[in-house]
Structure formats: structure tokens, C-alpha cells
Symmetry: C2
Subunit: 212 residues, 2 copies
């Protein structure tokens, strides 16, 4: 994300105020988008939730889409840091991959609604913003991909195309928020376990060399 984030044009000068208001807007919008979706949520509703007038809101954004961007940037930042933390795990590829899956699922659990918004409303973004989103996604994938390749090289895994497998694994984690209605009877721990087992068996992590 770093340099990539286009700064949102504002009317207000005070930098700290902008920051604070942006956070408030993000909070409110997140809650509303999660409940009703982007299109069904009006700018008026968001303004009300932030406790400012519509006019004031427009001092901090240039258009409604900026709000969606705010939300997305927050997601990006959050996932970026949390995932990096989890990856810092210094065990062998097997435990590292398991940690990555656990971290991803934990994140997806904590921000279920957010993931939903991510999948449902991304087609609303302009090409430029979409590219940013893709870029971030690719970064996550390449993190996981690196683990897989190391595992393959060191004989722990027998995965096929590492890029493809990494994409599949990360996508699989989204089953928890996206199919939540069908997984109500399970809890996060169960799903994490089953998914991790499926994947690790699937690429030979449980049959190959022991970790370390």
C-alpha cells in the first residue's frame, strides 16, 4: 500500500482532525456497509452515524466512493500488519503455514462483515482503486507462496504450482465469512483445524519430512 494510497482531497485544513474524522467515518461506514451493503447505505445515514451533517462529511471526502476507499484502506492496513506478525513465526514450513492459516482465519473471523463487503462491493471501485486492491492481495499470496516453495524445496511439501496453491489456500480461508450462514453450527477452532488439516495433508505437509 505505502506510496500507493491516493490521499483523499479534503476541504478541512487541520490534519489531526481529518485523521480523526476519517476514522469515525470508517467506523460508521463499516458497520453500516456490513449490515446493508454499500449501495443501500446513503451518505445521509453515514453522516448521522458520525454525528455530523452531510455538508460536514463532504469536507472530509470528495465523493461517496472515497468512503469505500477509506474502508478498504483500513482493511488493507489491518491485514498487512497482522499477517506479517503471524508469518514472523520462525518454525518450519509446516508450522509456518499452519500459523498463516490460523492467522488468516482469525482475522477473517474478527472482521467477517468486512470481508463480506470486500467481496461484494469491490466491483464498485474504479479501475485505479481496484488495482490497489489486487496489489495487496498479490502481496498476501506471495507471502504464503514463499512458505510453500520453501516447504517444497526442503522436502516437506509436494505441492504443485506454488502460486496457484497459495491463492487457493487463502481463498479457502474466506469460506468462514462467506459461507457463515452454512457454518453456523461450527466454531472458529473447528473450521481452522479442518481447513488446516485439509491443506496440510493436501500438499503433503503431514507425510513429508518432519518440521525442523
Amino acid at each position: 500500500m505505502p506510496a500507493a494510497i491516493r490521499q483523499i482531497e479534503t476541504v478541512v485544513k487541520d490534519r489531526a482532525l481529518i485523521e480523526r474524522r476519517h476514522e469515525q467515518i470508517c467506523d460508521a461506514a463499516l458497520r453500516l456497509f456490513a449490515r446493508k451493503g454499500y449501495h443501500q447505505t446513503s451518505v445521509r445515514e453515514i453522516a448521522e452515524a458520525v454525528n455530523v451533517s452531510v455538508g460536514a462529511l463532504y469536507n472530509y471526502i470528495k465523493s461517496k466512493e472515497d468512503i469505500l476507499l477509506l474502508v478498504y484502506h483500513r482493511i488493507f492496513g489491518l491485514f498487512q500488519t497482522k499477517m506479517s506478525e503471524a508469518m514472523a513465526n520462525s518454525g518450519g514450513p509446516t508450522s509456518q503455514l499452519r500459523a498463516a492459516i490460523e492467522a488468516t482465519l482469525k482475522l477473517y473471523d474478527e472482521y467477517q462483515d468486512l470481508v463480506l463487503v470486500l467481496y461484494q462491493e469491490s466491483h464498485t471501485l474504479r479501475r485505479e482503486a481496484l488495482q490497489q486492491l489486487f496489489e495487496v492481495d498479490r502481496r498476501y499470496v506471495s507471502m504464503v507462496q514463499a512458505i510453500i516453495e520453501r516447504g517444497n524445496r526442503e522436502g516437506h511439501f509436494v505441492a504443485g504450482d506454488s502460486n496457484l496453491i497459495a491463492i487457493a489456500i487463502l481463498f479457502l480461508c474466506a469460506v468462514w465469512p462467506l459461507k457463515r450462514w452454512n457454518l453456523k453450527k461450527y466454531d472458529l477452532a473447528t473450521v481452522t483445524d479442518e481447513v488446516a488439516n485439509l491443506v496440510l495433508h493436501g500438499i503433503g505437509g503431514a507425510h513429508g519430512l518432519p518440521d525442523d
Copy 2:
């Protein structure tokens, strides 16, 4: 679906004409929804694409949501028949599961845009229509689940919770349409192969008893 489909109220009497128009509407809407999404597509556009006036369109539907329902019903019907065909495969659990995965991915490939609409716009549906959608999904899941349970029982698989695994497998297939932008360099055959291998290894289908 059979009895579950709520008939859409119409003004026109001629049953055959209704049928024909509904198909036209479905065709047009599908193309438009795939390109622009449900909310960004206006009723006027759909009417134009069908080559009738807005007024005429409203003789065949009661509201815009009915159009989304038409599209969904078409998807349901299609998937229902195609999946049943693929499942009729009479080999052992391993080859049966592989066939199911292949069929699902082939379907998802053929109707990529449709799957996208399915995932992106389902939150637009009313509770009643959503229940229908869930019901259909559960039916697919239970098909796959049956295969897994048989495989477990006969010693081919060592899968954990069969329901959970079935949900995960079907979801995983959606990676192809939903992450298409990140899978451009792959073709359907490759993805099918890698996914099938991941799954079959994952639940022990390649380590357990040989098929038949």
C-alpha cells in the same frame, strides 16, 4: 427447487408468452448484471435489451427484484441438472469426487459472471428468497457430503467432519470465477487438476484404498 419456486405474479395471461419473455428478460439481465452488477443496471436498460418498453416489462414482473430471482432460478436449475449428471458417475468415491469437482469447475467456468453475480448480489434478496438460495446450496453440499461419507466408510478417505469438508470443497471451486483476475495465467484444466489433487490428497483419497 421444484415446489420451492414462488411463481412470479404477472399481468399477461398467455402462459407461453410469459415463459418466452421471462427467458428473454433473464438472458438480457444476466449479460447486464455480469457487466455492471445489479444495482448499476436500470430497469430501463433491461427493457431496452429485451426490446420492449418499460411498461411491457412490468407486465411480466412485479418488481425489479423479480428479475434477480429469475436469474437465480435459472442458475439453480442449470446447476441442479448438470451436477446430478456428473454425480451419476458410478465409479468409486475417489473418481466420483473428482468428477464432482470437475463438473463444478466446468460449470463455474461456463458461467463465471453468473457466479460473480450470485456472490455479489445475494444480499439484495429478501429473506424469503435468500432461504431458497440457501436451500439449493445445502442440496449441493449434501450431494458431495454423501460421496465423502461413503468414501470414509469404505476406507478411501479419512476426512474429518464430512459436512464441513463438503462445504469447503465446493467453496474452493469458486476460486476460479472469484479470483479470476489473479488466475489469468492459468487455464481451467490446470486449476481443476490442482484443486482436485489438493482435495483428494487432503482427505486421503490418494493414500487410502484404491478405487474399486
